[in-house]
């Protein structure tokens, strides 16, 4: 694997992402977002166990469980990050982030997993409440 060739200035990468945002609004009429896709995913999964119940829930009537522009956008983020990481030698399989490892030890895989899971539950509940 190649050596990590280093990142770009966050000002440059951020500015360019602004250009991507402008083009998206211009061409597709779509503004960036990610958290709605987690609602659609939850709905798609719940449909497997009880489609009738999902069809009657207010929030899934408002945010219909289906694959849409944003859902594919989120998949694209995964793939784009992977392409960038692999081609620059900065792809690294890691179960515990460096900062976490310095504080809690590199072997604390389970505490990290539990914290990330609980954090995810809480973060998404808050994000959805604020409509973000």
């Amino acid at each position: 694997m190649k050596q990590d060739s280093g990142g770009w200035s966050p000002y440059i990468a951020g500015g360019l992402s602004g250009v991507v945002g402008i083009l998206s609004v211009w061409i597709a009429g779509k503004y960036f977002g990610a958290s709605t896709s987690f609602v659609r995913t939850a709905g798609l999964i719940e449909q497997v166990f009880g489609a009738d119940r999902v069809a009657q829930m207010d929030y899934f009537i408002k945010v219909v469980p289906r694959i849409d522009w944003q859902w594919m956008f989120v998949v694209g983020i995964f793939l784009g990050a992977m392409i960038s990481a692999v081609t620059s030698g900065s792809f690294k399989l890691q179960a515990v982030p460096d900062m976490w490892a310095r504080r809690f030890g590199a072997g604390s895989v389970v505490p990290r997993a539990l914290t990330a899971f609980v954090g995810g539950v809480v973060a998404m509940f808050g994000a959805r409440m604020a409509d973000g």
Partner: protein
Amino acid sequence: MKMLIYGLVTGLFFGFLLQKGRVLRYDKQLGALRLMDMTIVKFMLSSVIVGMVGIYLLYDLGMVKLSIKATILGPVIIGALIFGIGWGLLGYCPGTSMGAVGEGRWDALWGILGMVVGAALFAEAYPMLLRTVYTWGDLGKITVPEVLGVSHWIIIPLFIVAAVLMFRWFEKKGL
């Protein structure tokens, strides 16, 4: 189908740039929350500055529509506080969690799983929240220029000046 391809391609570019900016990492996100490393703030504000100028230009030319969300103080303030607690624990936000997995930081997978559960729980709580939190402080679909009664071309330069001053201060302090 065309929209799905647009979504995928836009995400590819955005994910590529997020990775290049090194903003997908737990250390960068916690670094910002611990006021130690402002990389993600630099990335976000640079994106916002470029985006706001371009989109308002196109808006003035009648070529795009704005997407303004309602400002309801109750859910925005309470939701943001809840989100912040979760973000601090997880160390990724919804979009960056996917990018983090793409970069190999697979602890983000636990967060993604948690976020799907969080979304499902929110859907359960929604009818109750609609009767309570969502009725607190509904200001409607407002914007800063509209509330102040000035052109957006007054607010945008002021925003850019404030951001650049902050960038300079970050660089001086080595943040």
